[in-house]
């Protein structure tokens, strides 16, 4: 691995991420007035996490079927408003069991 290039990537990642968090806290003292900008920022987390999760989640495990099973369980628990840890670990557990079943069926 090219270590200087890697460190450069880390510097860019950390620098940009930190500036985004730091600038509004330290410098921007006035409240944003634009309703459009406020609304835009409000929707950003959902838009970004939605685009990152789908369809990437389908290829996050070794089989698309186990991923679908994990996704279904995660959505069901999230609908019940369970915590991050519960949802994430239940999805993992479901994938593990689904793949055991898949292997068992295919192995027969």
């Amino acid at each position: 691995m090219d270590i200087p290039k890697f460190l450069c990537y880390v510097l860019v990642m950390a620098g940009v991420t930190y500036l985004i968090r730091m600038l509004p806290l330290a410098i921007f003292q006035k409240k944003i007035e634009s309703r459009f900008v406020k609304s835009f920022l409000f929707y950003v987390p959902y838009a970004v996490l939605g685009a990152m999760t789908f369809p990437a989640i389908l290829s996050s495990t070794s089989s698309v079927w186990s991923a679908i099973a994990g996704l279904a369980v995660a959505v069901a628990l999230a609908m019940k408003e369970k915590g991050l840890l519960t949802v994430a670990m239940s999805a993992c557990g479901t994938v593990f069991v689904a793949e055991l079943i898949l292997r068992f069926c295919l192995g027969q």
Partner: protein
């Protein structure tokens, strides 16, 4: 003049941070594992976690590092994925007690993750620097430790466990996006818009060749702008 007392106990902050740290362990574990399986050294994975402290940004950054993407794409991707922190920091700046000076604000900013922001803004009244420091402590070390364990264990873990943990980060994302989408129609629509667009970029011919970092940028800007235009949030918050 009556005022709500400031929340400013390190111990209380630390206690509030423990559940966040536990949640981070599993996700950072996956990050460390994924980083090493993609060819990064263990120290590299831990370095990223200790300097970035952000889930989505790190995972996206990882794929850009591996594909040797240009630095500009890395900077833009981080900017877009982490743009939400600007809003959180803005909101947190109103929540912090007046006694917190600019230097301390700069330190607190580093630990302003989705979950830490959520917990601090849930406090009644203003929050002080000691509470914030306590709140950030456990999640920060949980994030670093999880990365280290995941990176070190990646080679000894059986493939079935590695495969199962691959979904952890997405499980966490789903836990963040579904509850608000359930309650607010506007969030639901923005989410579906973004997901639909992202799938289009993943599967449609031609669009498929756009790099993943830019797909996230495009989907986010279009979906959030669509939401801001057609479902502007209420002025009173």
């Amino acid at each position: 003049m009556e005022q709500t007392p400031i929340v400013n106990s390190y111990t209380k902050g630390f206690r509030d941070g423990v559940p966040i740290a536990l949640g981070y362990l599993s996700v950072s574990f996956t990050f460390g594992m994924m980083a090493v399986s993609l060819g990064l050294p263990v120290w590299g994975a831990v370095l990223i976690s200790m300097t970035n402290l952000t889930s989505a940004g790190q995972f996206a950054g990882l794929s850009l590092i591996v594909s040797g993407a240009p630095m500009v794409e890395m900077a833009l991707t981080q900017l877009i994925i982490n743009l939400r922190y600007a809003l959180m920091s803005l909101s947190l700046s109103q929540k912090l007690d007046k006694s917190v000076n600019t230097f301390e604000r700069c330190l607190i900013a580093f630990g302003n993750t989705d979950e830490i922001f959520a917990v601090s803004s849930g406090q009644k009244g203003a929050v002080g620097k000691r509470y914030m420091a306590g709140l950030i402590t456990a999640p920060y070390f949980g994030w670093a430790l999880g990365t280290l364990i995941g990176a070190a264990a990646s080679t000894i873990l059986p493939a079935s466990i590695r495969s199962a943990l691959g979904i952890a980060i997405y499980g966490m994302f789903i836990a963040i996006i579904i509850p608000p989408a359930k309650h607010l129609k506007s969030v639901r629509i923005v989410l579906l818009f973004s997901v639909g667009l992202s799938c289009l970029f993943a599967w449609a011919p031609l669009l498929r060749s756009v790099s993943s970092g830019f797909v996230i940028i495009i989907c986010t800007i279009l979906a959030a702008a669509f939401g801001a235009k057609f479902f502007p949030i209420e002025e009173a918050e």
